[in-house]
Subunit: 131 residues, 2 copies
């Protein structure tokens, strides 16, 4: 039951972007890589997942980088971790489609409940609190 380093690094990226958000300047992965001591190549890979959540304005080329679209007070930690980890459910049967036997399954409510608990907790925390 571990959060992956991908998830933790994703949060680091978002924290760095959150810190410069008010300045309205684009921050490059090279810069984040140096500040957080994470390889540029790995950050690029993590960024692929994060971009799907539509968190950023992107500026290619020199002086380019990423800029948050929303204020850090409006970005939940849950939305970040879900984007990075792809999902935040403790068992696969919980997700849409899921297990066909879920209604007969005695432990399904347990895992469903736990997944909801985790998502609720992480959705109650916002990026701004961790800058």
């Amino acid at each position: 039951m571990k959060i992956s380093t991908k998830g933790r690094y994703a949060l680091s990226i978002m924290i760095q972007l959150g810190r410069v958000y008010s300045e309205g300047e684009y921050l490059s992965l090279t810069e984040i890589s140096e500040r957080e001591h994470i390889s540029l190549k790995y950050l690029e890979k993590i960024m692929i997942s994060l971009k799907k959540a539509d968190f950023f304005l992107v500026q290619k080329g020199k002086e380019g980088g990423y800029l948050l679209k929303k204020d850090p007070s409006e970005i939940s930690i849950g939305s970040i971790i879900r984007a990075a980890e792809e999902e935040l459910d403790v068992v696969d049967c919980v997700k849409s489609g899921g297990c066909p036997k879920k209604n007969q399954c005695g432990t399904y409510p347990l895992w469903k409940g736990l997944s909801e608990e985790i998502n609720l907790y992480l959705d109650s925390k916002f990026l701004k609190e961790y800058l």
Copy 2:
């Protein structure tokens, strides 16, 4: 953020033992293996972890097996999953000893809080509810 199959199978074992608890008879892994369609060898391995939590009375040899020491209403799901998964913390820095920088770490409270949330939830559910 998945519960491992080891954790889920551990719960299956406990559910089977919980169902026969009141009869006071020992239930063998061979029997559980057939009822749950899990290989005997794998169950043996999972049992090594569960035994550390001191859940069972053990009877070797013919007609032997395992018998719960406590009533299923007194065995929390948290204690089962912690025994099987070894720990239930979302990051390593949370556990005793843990990361030396935890007091300077901005996200430590987040992961600590989430781990507590998960443990609290699973400790509020008891085996009896899933028999």
